[in-house]
Subunit: 290 residues, 3 copies
């Protein structure tokens, strides 16, 4: 335990998120909100609505995990310090004279630093969600995965839902039909930490936190520098989906046409056709019977 | 108590839902999901979203009753066995080679058997919801009716809500303005079992469960064989609505025109006209006064 | 304490809302529902949906505060007396022969009396919400403000949400982008009573309740008689918003054009342009670097 590596990872896993990493998370979230079209106009016309939206962007994951576990969604409001911190960052971001914050944030090194620190908070949120869900359900590992995922990446779901309620919903930006990269990587991390917590993974937690955080920061920064949205483990995904869902495409020529067609064009009508035909035959059978 | 009828109903009311009736319920729910247009394409493009939708179809009623009683909506995920059972049924339904499950399900006897067993689970859900709500509110019989109804027929509400969030909402298919047959019959059963639970109905529970389940299965199967969506107690409904809401149509000629018109065409503008007129007179009165 | 003023306010603060003020609140809420286009037709075609909407209009604030504090939203159904009272008022309002209730309500003095009594219930709701939230979070004054606000003015949010689910959503009527007068005045009262509860306001509660209620009733009745929707404290609002958010419009000529433009026309594109430009320069920088 007293090898330098263990000491490093242990010290890393004990760093507190409160002052600086939280500030980075709030800054990235509020800047993402400000870049939405019309957000600045809303902040000038109705500051309260803009402040509420900013709070949802900053604390969305915690709110979603509270909702999923039937805890008060207002609990995040009880932490006055974080609220005032996020509110002040929202204030200087939207109402700073000469828009200094946006101009300072528009430089890449600042963005890289803030994004990297935000990814660090993601690890802490996942671990917190998994351990918190374990206090409710002893061996409900599905719940642990879900809560860790919600606390780590649920902010986008909450903000999508808020846009839906506000009427400014963009259906091409929803999280349901196409998982974004943060959602995927958070799901991976939630699964990993759940298995570590249920002792199915023989790795000490602080090592896992260090490695997963390094992976998060490295992928995020590389994706930001080389402005590509290509997920680094697309190959792994393809293999997995082919193994799970695609294997009958080789072995079963009987359904190959319709299945692949329906999997490529979004209709699925070709696959639901045999069912309709069958039910028609059923109808005929009964019109004969009666 | 040891009459053969009582023994039969008692044994029936003690049958466990777990392995077989739950499987039938999951199968019917997942097949209903698969027959939606585009569901197969979604399952091929984004299996996770399809799995989530299938879980909502299978456990929607329990989730809604949990939300209404402020219990964790994730509780259904804590029951690992049922989750794995429903997931495997979802998997073989959507990804079975040659689409064997759909073809087997397209035969009417299989559909009748599965639908009948699903109706049996409905009774168990209603009774469970009523008794569960009674543990919260001692004499809150309205809550008991609502929770029993939600657990028995809330799945459609949850799935409608999920379609709304996903943007694929069909407003002609919503449960709000027009109650479907399952919603009506579940409401009836919830009222009956609530009155039985509050001792206003002098029938033993197992007899009531047997009779109500027989009624559910008989009506469902007859509706499936003679492919009619006509509710068998439409006459009862008409009489009730006429007695409650329609009686002034005979006795009050003063409102007959507008009320009946507004009850037939969906506008209701004719009825809201007198109010507008009255408020106009009020306005005139005050323009005079000032 | 035995000055006549204190005796008056103390007696006022001890008056029970139950029979008469609640009736006035239900009457105003149900009449507001009935004046919506098509509400009468819905009540005739599907009474259950109309009853559910009426209950949401009557108990919306309590439901929202229950949701925010993770209490059962069905708790309002456990109070059978109030439910039956509101249901009977909904019944006679929608199905009374000759539409007597609407015609009687269309006279201005009746409207003034009912509206004034409804405003009295608003004070009681705010105080109840603040004290109830204080039992959860000792010094979470933000939560107290939010819960008092939700219980006092949350009905409109709930009803908007219900219209959204029912598909009859009117995006120009939403509460998010433009706070209505009740929402503003309820927020003010919630802040005042929270500060009084946390001893930051050296006023006895019954005096504050009396004064705030008088203010509510006076402003409401004046707004109804002189049919103006102008908020009486618009000047105060302008001063506050200018002090908080508008001050850089005088001192910072650098951003004056874009900010004021984006604050007047709803696009905000002009303000988000510098960011886009900056990121473009960043892109150029890296295309050079690579």
């Amino acid at each position: 335990m007293d090898s330098p590596w263990d000491e490093l990872t242990l010290a890393f896993s004990r760093t507190s998120m409160f002052p600086f990493f939280d500030i980075a998370h709030y800054l990235v979230s509020v800047m993402a909100l400000k870049r939405q079209p019309g957000a600045v106009a809303v902040a000038w016309k109705n500051p309260l609505s803009s402040w509420f939206t900013a709070m949802l962007h900053c604390f969305g994951g915690g709110i979603l995990s509270c909702v999923l576990l039937a805890e008060p969604p207002l609990r995040f409001l009880a932490n006055n310090t974080n609220i005032l911190l996020a509110s002040s960052i929202w204030y200087i971001t939207f109402f700073c004279p000469c828009d200094l914050v946006s101009q300072g944030y528009s430089f890449l090194p600042v963005q890289l630093l803030a994004a990297g620190m935000k990814e660090v908070t993601r690890t802490w949120k996942i671990v917190g969600g998994v351990t918190h869900a374990n206090t409710y359900y002893k061996n409900g590992w599905i719940v642990m995965i879900a809560v860790g995922w919600a606390r780590g990446a649920g902010g986008s779901i909450i903000t999508n839902f808020e846009q839906l309620v506000k009427g400014s919903w963009k259906p091409e930006a929803n999280e349901w039909l196409k998982m974004s990269y943060p959602a995927k990587v958070t799901l991976l991390g939630s699964v990993i930490f759940t298995f570590q917590h249920t002792k199915h993974l023989a790795v000490s937690r602080h090592n896992l936190m260090f490695l997963y955080t390094m992976f998060l920061v490295a992928t995020k920064i590389t994706m930001m520098i080389t402005e590509t949205a290509t997920v680094p483990f697309a190959l792994f995904e393809d293999a997995l989906s082919r193994m799970l869902f695609g294997w009958q495409q080789q072995f079963t020529p009987c359904e190959k046409k319709s299945e692949t067609k329906s999997s490529f064009n979004g209709t699925g009508s070709s696959t639901s056709k045999p069912i309709a035909v069958a039910s028609d035959t059923v109808k005929k059978k009964h019109t004969k019977k009666t």
